[in-house]
């Protein structure tokens, strides 16, 4: 696959702290790439620089091998779906969708018949044909979203940019629109660049996820890479519920790496960890759902003794907050099994499988809450 959009060493300064520090990434042709991060991570600013709505302080934006850093917005081959939809309130649904095409009519690049056919087709694609003559204020949030989508897609741009497009919809509508976006991406085979702060949305929709924090790119990878093989403690804690723990490495030649944790708990890691010497401080990640929990009085002999400080029954799963001497653990368990009898304050045994222990490279960074 060839890159269609590339940003190199992008930086944006508004006069306060840097909004975007230093971001470089490639987006491949036909890819669905999400920029994921908390507010203030620089994800929207990065998207706006790709669109040309902001000029980078440093760095460049490339489109199919051409430097477009200083190409005006109107001349870039990409369409954006705005967070507030940005539908023109003085134009009907039909006119909104036809807006971009009519501009081409003025330049003699399209015929009236073609406009009619294309607007029709795309209104059909987003299931809004029945509302073509309505004004935007007469539509529901989800319908407005669809108009914005049709308006962006109708001009057949190679790249579509999304700035938290589902942010203003309610939870149910959001799920419907997520499926819709996924379907549109599959059918139209366009490149989608999607900004969101919702990690489930990012992972569920995208081919690759770029995790941003404080204007920097932390990790760029497929959803399962980012989830299971985070390259830093920050990514590990930002995505999903993870326990990032510190321990001491126990290296015995010919045997898998062992990690002794603060509470005296010893774990084996199946993973090769070259370069780690005996006695070195290491940071490991254990996903909350990969930990096992059992009543302390049960038949399991090994594991970490912990106490339940919070227990949330969520239907399909149960979320636990546990304390062990020196640290806290988050754990989620599928409903069913022995642990359902547990209650607040109970002593439990926490177990972990060596396969799930992930040694994180580099120094530990402070925990980030999503």
């Amino acid at each position: 696959m060839s890159p269609i959009i590339e940003v190199r060493r992008l930086q944006k300064h508004y006069g306060g702290p840097l909004a975007v520090r230093d971001i470089s990434l490639c987006v491949n042709e036909g890819e669905f790439l999400s920029l994921l991060g908390a507010s203030g991570s620089g994800k929207t600013t990065t998207l706006r620089m790709i669109a040309g709505l902001e000029t980078p302080t440093h760095g460049s934006v490339w489109f199919r091998g051409r430097d477009i850093t200083h190409v005006p917005v109107a001349q870039r081959d990409m369409r954006m779906v705005f967070q507030d939809f940005a539908l023109f309130p003085n134009l009907s649904v039909w006119e909104n969708v036809a807006f971009g095409l009519k501009l081409r009519l003025n330049r003699g690049r399209i015929t009236r018949g073609e406009i009619k056919a294309r607007v029709h087709r795309y209104l059909d694609t987003v299931q809004l044909s029945a509302h073509a003559d309505k004004m935007p204020h007469q539509l529901s949030g989800g319908q407005r979203q669809r108009v914005a989508l049709a308006r962006a897609l109708v001009t057949d741009p190679p790249v579509v940019l999304f700035d938290e497009p589902l942010g203003s919809l309610d939870a149910n509508m959001r799920k419907v629109m997520q499926l819709e976006l996924k379907r549109l991406h599959r059918e139209l085979r366009k490149t989608f660049i999607y900004v969101t702060h919702d990690q489930e949305e990012a992972m569920g929709l995208s081919d690759r996820v770029a995790v941003l924090q404080d204007g920097q790119l932390l990790q760029l990878g497929t959803p399962d890479e980012v989830y299971f093989r985070p390259t830093s403690a920050a990514v590990a804690s930002f995505i999903g519920a993870a326990n990032v723990l510190q321990g001491t490495a126990e290296v015995v030649p010919g045997k898998p790496l062992g990690v002794r944790l603060l509470g005296g708990w010893r774990l084996d890691a199946t993973e090769e960890a070259p370069g780690i010497t005996n006695g070195e401080r290491v940071t490991i990640m254990l996903r909350a759902e990969q930990l096992g929990i059992a009543p302390a009085a049960g038949e399991i002999a090994h594991g970490l003794r912990a106490q339940i400080t919070e227990r949330l029954f969520l239907g399909e799963k149960v979320r636990y907050e546990l304390t062990v001497p020196g640290t806290e653990l988050r754990l989620t368990a599928v409903s069913g099994g022995d642990h359902l009898r547990l209650s607040l304050g109970d002593e439990v045994l926490v177990t972990a499988d060596a396969r799930h222990v992930r040694v994180l490279p580099g120094a530990p960074s402070p925990r980030v809450d999503a």
């Binding site: 917005v73 109107a74 990409m78 369409r79 507030d84 940005a86 023109f88 971009g100 501009l103 204020h137």
Partner: protein, 290 residues
């Protein structure tokens, strides 16, 4: 709560309605009633005689120079409104979309407002010194040897009245258009250029249509204020630029024909109400979209 206490509470609430109702009666209802009372009467040897005759109202339309002065005033008002709108739009646009820093916005805002701290009379008089025979413009043109004797064309006519009125009332247009432009989200302009529109296309297809209610409101305010003005025609307008308010003043203070003056007042108020109704209708239709 029992019915009795509910009723008593309701009576207590009614007390709060008294001040606004009183205010409305003293400053609106009674003056309007008096206006109608006078207009249906007549005068005999400069004394007022009450009556029920619509003769004065008919005379407004039938007897010269009332109707022609009324139309001329409306024309001057319309020219002022158009001039003020043309001058105001770029300023309001800059203020709304091209002034990012709050301080710059405040300074421009202040520059628009500050002239209002000066007395109206002084501002109108200032134009007399600018346009007059020995005024700034004539002095400059004479010094540059572009003319050999002072121009008299530029003062004491309808042009000088319109110029003065435009200068005085443009701030109303600026504020009215600015308030409307402020409501347009920046994302609409971004979306438009993202879809390939040039700045000019965005302006004509999105910004101007969306700002029309503000333009209209500003135009109606300036039109109403200019049409009813009497200081500018008195100071910088010649005999040709006599306006309807000057006629009313003469009828009241010189001819003592109060019924005629009241009738002209009613016609002017009627036109004003009609215009405001139209603008409200347009605005309601447009604002529902935001």
């Amino acid at each position: 709560m029992s019915l009795a206490t509910a009723n008593r509470d309701r009576r207590h609430l009614l007390i709060w309605l008294v001040p606004p109702l009183l205010w409305f009666a003293v400053f609106m209802l009674i003056p309007y009633c008096m206006l109608f009372y006078y207009s249906f009467g007549s005068t005999e040897y400069m004394t007022f005689k009450p009556g029920f005759s619509p003769a004065n109202l008919i005379r407004v339309f039938r007897t010269e120079p009332y109707l022609s002065v009324l139309l001329k005033s409306a024309r001057i008002g319309a020219c002022t409104a158009i001039g003020a709108t043309i001058l105001a739009y770029p300023v309001a646009f800059c203020l709304a979309f091209h002034t990012r820093s709050a301080r710059a916005k405040f300074v421009i805002y202040l520059l628009v407002i500050v002239p209002w701290w000066a007395a109206y009379l002084v501002k109108a008089y200032a134009w007399k010194t600018i346009l007059g025979t020995n005024g700034i413009i004539n002095a400059l043109l004479l010094d540059l040897h572009l003319i050999h004797e002072p121009l008299t064309l530029i003062l004491y006519n309808q042009f000088s009245v319109i110029l003065t009125l435009v200068y005085i009332f443009t701030p109303f247009s600026i504020l009215s258009i600015y308030a409307q432009l402020e409501r347009i989200p920046t994302s609409l302009l971004e979306a438009s250029s993202n879809l390939g529109a040039t700045t000019f296309e965005t302006l004509t297809k999105i910004v101007i249509p969306l700002s029309l209610p503000g333009v209209l409101a500003g135009a109606i305010i300036t039109f109403a204020l200019a049409t009813g003005d009497f200081i500018a025609p008195a100071l910088v307008g010649g005999p040709d630029a006599l306006m309807i308010s000057n006629v009313v003043i003469n009828l009241l203070g010189v001819a003592f024909d109060w019924p005629m003056a009241a009738s002209i007042g009613i016609v002017v108020i009627g036109v004003g109400i009609a215009l405001i109704s139209v603008s409200q209708y347009v605005e309601h239709r447009a604002q529902a979209r935001f």
